[in-house]
């Protein structure tokens, strides 16, 4: 067992964990964060995507001990003061989800994508979300949602 200290969605946690425990299992089973999904067991689908120190990672590809002293953000930590994150709002308004299973990972990957590239083209969005699979939407409205979020933050930046 190893002792780790992780900040998840702004809360500091300390736990004894097995070195082989995957971060996704730590988040779901130890911390009870159900918004992190397991979709494939093979690191293909991206449903478990979270941010580690602001950058997207598939939480099934890293161990909980690797998150020691790092900051993790899940979809449950995106809202601020009861307000949805702009990407969450855009997914809602653009009908960017149907069954919702891929959505937490898709949103986290999109947040990370927009941080790297605040004004991505449709093609750049599609490339940027390559690691996240969706079976319901055909990606069309997910791409639309990311564009919507980008345009709004562009407008905000221009206004400020």
């Amino acid at each position: 067992m190893r002792r780790i200290g992780v900040t998840v969605d702004g809360v500091r946690y300390e736990h004894e964990v097995e070195p082989r425990l995957l971060l996704v299992h730590y988040l779901r089973e130890v911390l009870g964060i159900g918004g992190v999904h397991v979709g494939c067991d093979t690191s293909n689908c991206g449903a478990c995507t979270v941010l580690m120190d602001g950058e997207s990672v598939k939480s099934c590809t890293i161990l909980a001990v690797q998150a020691d002293n790092h900051e993790i953000t899940t979809v449950q930590g995106l809202a601020r003061d009861g307000e949805w994150h702009p990407v969450q709002r855009a997914f809602h308004e653009a009908h960017g989800l149907q069954c919702g299973y891929c959505t937490p990972g898709m949103i986290m990957a999109s947040v990370s994508l927009l941080k790297e590239n605040p004004d991505p083209s449709e093609e750049e969005i599609r490339e940027g979300l390559e690691g996240n699979l969706c079976r319901c939407t055909g990606y069309e409205n997910i791409v639309k949602a990311v564009r919507m979020a980008a345009e709004r933050s562009g407008e905000r930046a221009a206004a400020s």
Binding site: D41, Q98, C99, E122, L133, C136, G138, N141
Partner: protein, 559 residues
């Protein structure tokens, strides 16, 4: 037994079944006298739920030299897998209604042999039976067009069933509900700029471009709105095809809608709230839709076969109608007027001729709940149920046009343009309809270009994970150009048809027809799904080889 299944994630067919593991979990819970949780892993899901399609299809068309189809003969060998699941043998039979597609002809024969194999059982998968049918008839139409040296769009237009508004028998003997197929197809051709595409295709052929252009048409109908109970009984389904709804107006004026459908991404909470709001004249925000728990919604047949709106949504609408009917009696009593003089509009009952005398339906709901002053003998409360058993299927239809670029050096296929014109009758929520089409088309494209269940010689599944089974990602699929026509169904009072499976049914034939069309001048006539770069490249090499062989043998004959 109580089943709680909210937000279960996408189903696409495999969640229709009752699996052995579910029964085992119950048996274990009983034996151990404690809760048992069973979690299926992705590889178990691939291996031990159900697979789709799995047919060898033989289709023959008889036609005149002018391209008038006279008859169709279909023979199928359908893989049942190792065990029969819920609907396994029914899938191919269900498809037998729709092999004639949108076309009119006299003679039709259908034969199917189901074979047991040592593979994963097949069962319903989005488009079940009808995807297979559309694939076969549309491939055959293109083959016929090539044989007759006729444009494939022109051939189709010559054979469409003329516009009709009420039940009309198709060549397979089932009754289509309504349709104006030509209007739909012409709209799609125009939207795609079909003539312009053919001109571009000619240019690329003449210049010997590495990137050849192909145009594929997928005309189809799907039988939605499963299903009239009599038909279900006729195929020994052992399950009625009705759907139930209860609408309760509470004392507060808020509305609860209980539905037997089981949304898992189709947006019933949104659409059913709209239906109730429209019928009752209240705000959709005041409607709560309850589902997914047999303790709350004990009656219903579930969500499958593009049935939820056309059967379950209609049940909601008709239950609302009963609520309004009862509310009208109470309103007449409250307004001291004859029931025949009461008008209902915008959620308000008023007396004909003196519109200032009125009560809202919410006020009636409160009065019905307080029950202090109701018409003599009336039961308190404002809640009604309706069970709708449709008299026929619904028959949504559409024309999909897929444009592909095929790299003749690598065999890679890309889709620069995809147009879909669909008719699902009047639309309740346009964004949901579009979303269903986006996802459905993508699933059909995936079937045509990417996905395949591969087994080794001993029947071991080699594609048991998402590493081996290629579900397309965002860069692998195009953006879609969608449009609609709107011919109401004659099957239900709202004219609704459903849209859940249309995208999947229209897209696979459109994509493969496009790929073959891009290469037909090279002599390519057939490529099996999925048209992977390797298969496409091999088809090109084989066609070139055949042509070279024919040239050589021609020489030797002359010399």
């Amino acid at each position: 037994m109580r089943v709680v299944a909210p937000d279960v994630g996408g189903g696409f067919g495999s969640k229709l079944n009752v699996y052995a593991e579910e029964a085992l979990a119950l048996a274990l819970a009983r034996r151990l006298d404690r809760p048992v949780k069973w979690v299926e892993e992705r590889s178990e899901n691939h291996l031990a739920t159900t697979h789709g399609r799995g047919q060898v299809q033989y289709i023959e068309l008889a036609a005149t030299a002018e391209g008038k189809i006279l008859g169709m003969k279909v023979k199928l060998v359908a893989d049942m897998g190792a065990y029969l699941q819920l609907l396994t043998p029914g899938i191919a039979i269900f498809g037998s209604f729709t092999y004639p597609g949108l076309y009119n002809f006299d003679a039709y024969s259908f034969e199917c042999v189901g074979v047991f194999t040592n593979l994963t059982p097949t069962d319903a998968y989005r488009g079940a039976g009808r995807s297979e049918a559309a694939y076969a008839h549309e491939r055959a139409m293109d083959a016929l067009a090539r044989e007759l040296e006729m444009d494939p769009a022109e051939l189709r237009l010559r054979n469409l069933i003329p516009p009709f508004t009420g039940p009309t028998a198709n060549p397979a003997g089932v009754m289509y509900d309504s349709g104006d197929y030509e209007a739909c197809m012409r709209k799609a051709l125009e939207l795609a700029d079909y003539e312009g595409l053919r001109a571009e295709q000619r240019r690329r052929r003449e210049s010997g471009s590495v990137r050849q252009l192909g145009i594929g048409i997928g005309n189809f109908t799907e039988s939605g709105g499963l299903s009239p109970s009599k038909v279900a009984a006729g195929v020994r389904l052992q399950s009625g095809g009705w759907e139930a709804a209860t609408v309760r107006m509470l004392a507060s004026g808020k509305v609860e809608v209980v539905t037997g459908t089981s949304p898992h991404g189709q947006g019933h909470e949104t659409a059913w709230a709209q239906i109730a709001a429209d019928s009752l004249g209240v705000s959709p925000d005041d409607v709560e839709v309850l589902h997914g728990d047999t303790a709350v919604a004990p009656l219903g047949r579930d969500t499958y076969g593009s049935r939820s709106l056309a059967v379950g949504g209609v049940a909601v609408h008709l239950a609302c109608g009963k609520v309004v009917e009862k509310a009208k009696k109470i309103a007449a009593h409250m307004l001291e007027a004859a029931e025949g003089d009461i008008e209902f509009a915008g959620g308000r009952f008023s007396v004909a001729g003196s519109p200032e005398r009125g009560v809202t339906i919410q006020e009636v709901a409160t009065a019905a709940s307080l029950a202090a002053d109701l018409p003599e003998g009336m039961e308190p409360g404002l809640h009604e149920s309706h069970v709708f058993d449709p008299p026929n299927f619904t028959w949504p239809y559409g024309t999909h046009i897929c444009v592909v670029e095929v790299d003749t050096e690598t065999g890679k296929v890309t889709i620069p343009k995809y147009v879909a014109v669909d008719d699902c009758g009047p639309v309740v929520h346009p964004a949901i309809v579009e979303g269903q089409l986006h996802g459905g088309i993508t699933q059909g494209i995936a079937q045509a270009l990417y996905e395949k269940a591969i087994y080794d010689e001993s029947g071991n599944l080699l594609t048991g994970t998402l590493v081996d089974y290629l579900i397309p990602g965002a860069p692998d699929v195009p953006s879609f150009i969608l449009d609609r026509t709107e011919v109401p169904s004659s099957t239900n009072p709202m004219g609704w048809k459903g849209i859940g499976e249309s995208g999947t049914i229209g897209s696979s034939p459109a994509v493969i027809n496009a790929v073959i069309d891009a290469l037909s001048h090279l002599g390519v006539r057939h490529i099996d799904m999925p048209a992977t770069p390797m298969r496409v490249w091999q088809a090109i090499q084989e066609a070139r080889g055949r042509e070279a062989g024919e040239r050589t043998s021609g020489h030797s004959a002359q010399s």
